[in-house]
């Protein structure tokens, strides 16, 4: 018999793991196409703000969710414009996108909530059973979809070819840049969806910088999972569990200072990277620019 406390911990684990898994699976597809997107942190943050604004204004969960996705796509289009169109460095551009998202969401949030007016709340996604709702269902569908797409379809194979050897794929008649554009937009949509989950499910309002590094943890999860969807989900659950435990300790008034507990996810990510990152070999042409030669 499972006791109530364990059940709560499991539910909280899934709640914290789901946005990570969604964002990491989106990043996986982008990286498989050869694009390293450091900007997913900013895309999640923008998605969170859009979901908050649309959700609070209309009271509709669906619209909040869609607004989150749209914001993620818009930010990823900006990223693609600089990286794929202009050939700008992906790491610098992704970092700039994160700073842009911090500034943009800060300005917009403050102009949405003028001082004196109470803090608005976004509608909350309920749970069918503790730790299960539409977001979990979407995440599960995403895992299955990504596994089938990358492993079992011609298009998925072509996308992997683009990430592995862009030049060779180009010679085969595959439109490298088109694949990369679509993969980046897909990654942005996932990041935006993940951001909306943070607002519409985990916290009921927007806080500046509220993604607090989840995008970077998602990036690390792709490495931890060795570019395999199921292992990425397992990694997300591990992080969810660590975070759930950490929150439990905080709530229980642990003797460990609060700020040290808050370090858990970042220290854990570093440890995981130190143990696993070196053994992983990513897509051959990851983060290498491509220009079609005539």
């Amino acid at each position: 018999m499972i006791d109530a406390a364990t059940l709560l911990l499991v539910a909280s684990t899934i709640r914290l793991a789901t946005p990570l898994a969604i964002a990491a699976l989106g990043e996986l597809v982008a990286e498989r196409a050869g694009v390293l997107n450091i900007g997913i942190e900013g895309m999640m943050l923008t998605g969170a703000l859009a979901a908050f604004a649309a959700g609070a204004a209309t009271g509709s969960l669906a619209l909040g969710c869609l607004a989150g996705i749209a914001a993620g796509v818009a930010m990823s289009a900006l990223f693609a414009l600089f990286v794929l169109r202009r050939g700008a460095d992906p790491i610098v551009s992704g970092t700039a996108l994160n700073v842009l998202a911090l500034g943009l969401t800060g300005v917009l949030f403050r102009s949405l909530t003028p001082p004196g007016k109470g803090i608005e709340r976004a509608p909350q996604m309920g749970e069918l059973v503790p730790g299960f709702n539409v977001y979990v269902a979407l995440a599960l569908a995403l895992v299955v979809g990504v596994i089938l797409f990358l492993g079992r379809t011609r298009t998925g194979l072509a996308l992997r070819a683009v990430g592995e050897r862009a030049e060779a794929a180009h010679v085969q008649g595959i439109d490298v840049l088109r694949f990369r554009w679509l993969a980046v937009l897909f990654g942005g949509a996932c990041a935006g969806l993940a951001g909306s989950a943070i607002v519409l499910w985990i916290s009921d309002t927007f806080v500046e910088g509220m993604t607090s590094g989840r995008g970077f943890i998602a990036l690390a999860l792709v490495l931890f999972g060795g570019y395999r969807p199921l292992r990425i989900v397992a990694g997300a659950l591990l992080f969810g569990a660590a975070n759930a435990l950490q929150y439990r300790l905080q709530a229980a008034g642990s003797a460990i200072p609060y700020n040290l507990l808050l370090m858990t996810p970042y220290v854990l990510t570093l440890l995981v990277l130190a143990l696993f990152a070196g053994r992983v070999s990513g897509p051959g042409d990851l983060a290498k620019p491509f220009r079609a030669r005539d």
Binding site: I38, F82, R86, A88, D89, I91, V92, S93, T95, A96, L97, N98, V99, L100, L102, G103, L104, G106, V107, L108, R110, S111, E208, S212, G213, F216, L219, A220, P257, Y258, N259, L260, L262, M263, Y266, V267, T269, L270, L273, A274, L275, A277, G278, R279
Partner: protein
């Protein structure tokens, strides 16, 4: 690379970013001319404003210098923020817990050295992870930022909290451990003279020394460098240690020269602004001087912009991000090239 283009591109990037920001301000219903005017007046309008801007330049200059150096070597040190915090933390621990009111002639230089050393060690973690475990320094330095900021928060709530226990901040630095304000100035301190001299030292290191040549060679092509018996691993470690030391020194200068104590959000966002500084400078150590001045002016004018024109000060981050994007989308020099 002609000299005209070397100047035209950064100016162009800054101008386009400011114009885009003005457009954005108009979109949210603010008056862009009034907002940017308030910003300029708040940054450069009078003597006090100008001194505030110069004081803010210090950390941006040093961290930006470290970023420029590491980017030249093809190493993406995004961890300036964390290295700065750790430097400030170590210097504060030494002054308020280690030496107490020890002799100033010793404790001040020692505090700066310890700050620089702590920053170097913090970046050294990323270097070790990269060289020994194959962990990308992009991720490790970002994660180390979060940890460093939380470590400062923990310290000022815990072991380094002021004796009275009133606020989450450290004890004030004794006068002997504070950097003197320059004669005739209100806030501009001695540390800024040091900070302003370092770009020239780094320029000589980068372009006039064998060590700088090795470092740039790795930035251009690690494989070619290896063939020429230059170890990319050693250069990676070296450049991360130097740029960490610069950021750590910036943290120590901040607590001993400006704030006089440690607290949370000591220099929040400086790490990322420093990346904008380095890129606007086109990774040139001397160029870091005007670039740091530009961003320091934006930061110190943002408060006035918020007061006068009711535009949130975080709008400045939008300008920073746009400058980065427009700087990199014009051709940057290859990481190792001149």
């Amino acid at each position: 690379m002609s000299y005209v283009r070397a100047f035209a591109q950064p100016l162009g990037a800054a101008a386009v970013a400011l114009a885009a920001a003005a457009g954005l301000l108009a979109l949210i219903g603010a008056d862009p001319i009034a907002a940017l005017g308030a910003l300029a007046a708040g940054a450069l309008g009078d003597r006090i404003a100008l001194e505030n801007t110069v004081v803010r330049m210090g950390p941006l200059l040093l961290v930006g210098l470290g970023v420029a150096l590491s980017f030249r070597c093809g190493i993406w040190n995004i961890g300036g923020e964390g290295q700065l915090y750790v430097g400030a933390l170590a210097a504060t621990a030494l002054v308020t817990r280690g030496l107490g009111a020890g002799p100033g002639a010793v404790s001040l230089p020692l505090a700066l050295l310890v700050g620089a050393g702590a920053g170097a060690l913090w970046a050294g973690i990323a270097a070790a992870l990269r060289v020994r475990r194959g962990v990308s320094e992009v991720l490790s330095t970002i994660l180390l930022n979060f940890i460093a900021v939380l470590a400062v928060a923990w310290a000022v709530h815990g072991p380094l909290q002021e004796a009275s226990g009133a606020y989450p901040q450290s004890d004030a630095f004794p006068d002997l451990a504070r950097l003197a304000v320059l004669p005739g100035m209100r806030r501009v301190h001695l540390g800024l003279v040091l900070a302003a001299a370092l770009p020239f030292a780094v320029w000589v290191l980068l372009f006039r020394s064998a060590a700088g040549l090795r470092l740039r060679a790795v930035g251009l092509s690690p494989d070619a460098a290896r063939n020429a018996h230059v170890s990319p691993e050693r250069e990676t470690t070296r450049v991360l240690l130097i740029s960490g030391a610069l950021a750590g020194l910036a943290g120590a200068l901040e607590v001993s020269g400006v704030t006089g104590r440690l607290f949370e959000n000591l220099a929040s966002g400086y790490g990322f602004t420093a990346i904008a500084v380095a890129l606007l400078a086109r990774l040139n150590p001397i160029g870091v001087l005007p670039a740091a001045f530009f961003f320091a002016a934006l930061a110190s004018g943002s408060g006035a912009m918020q007061r006068v024109a009711a535009v949130p000060s975080v709008a400045v981050q939008v300008i920073e991000a746009l400058v980065i994007l427009f700087s990199v989308s014009f051709a940057l020099p290859k990481s190792g090239a001149r």
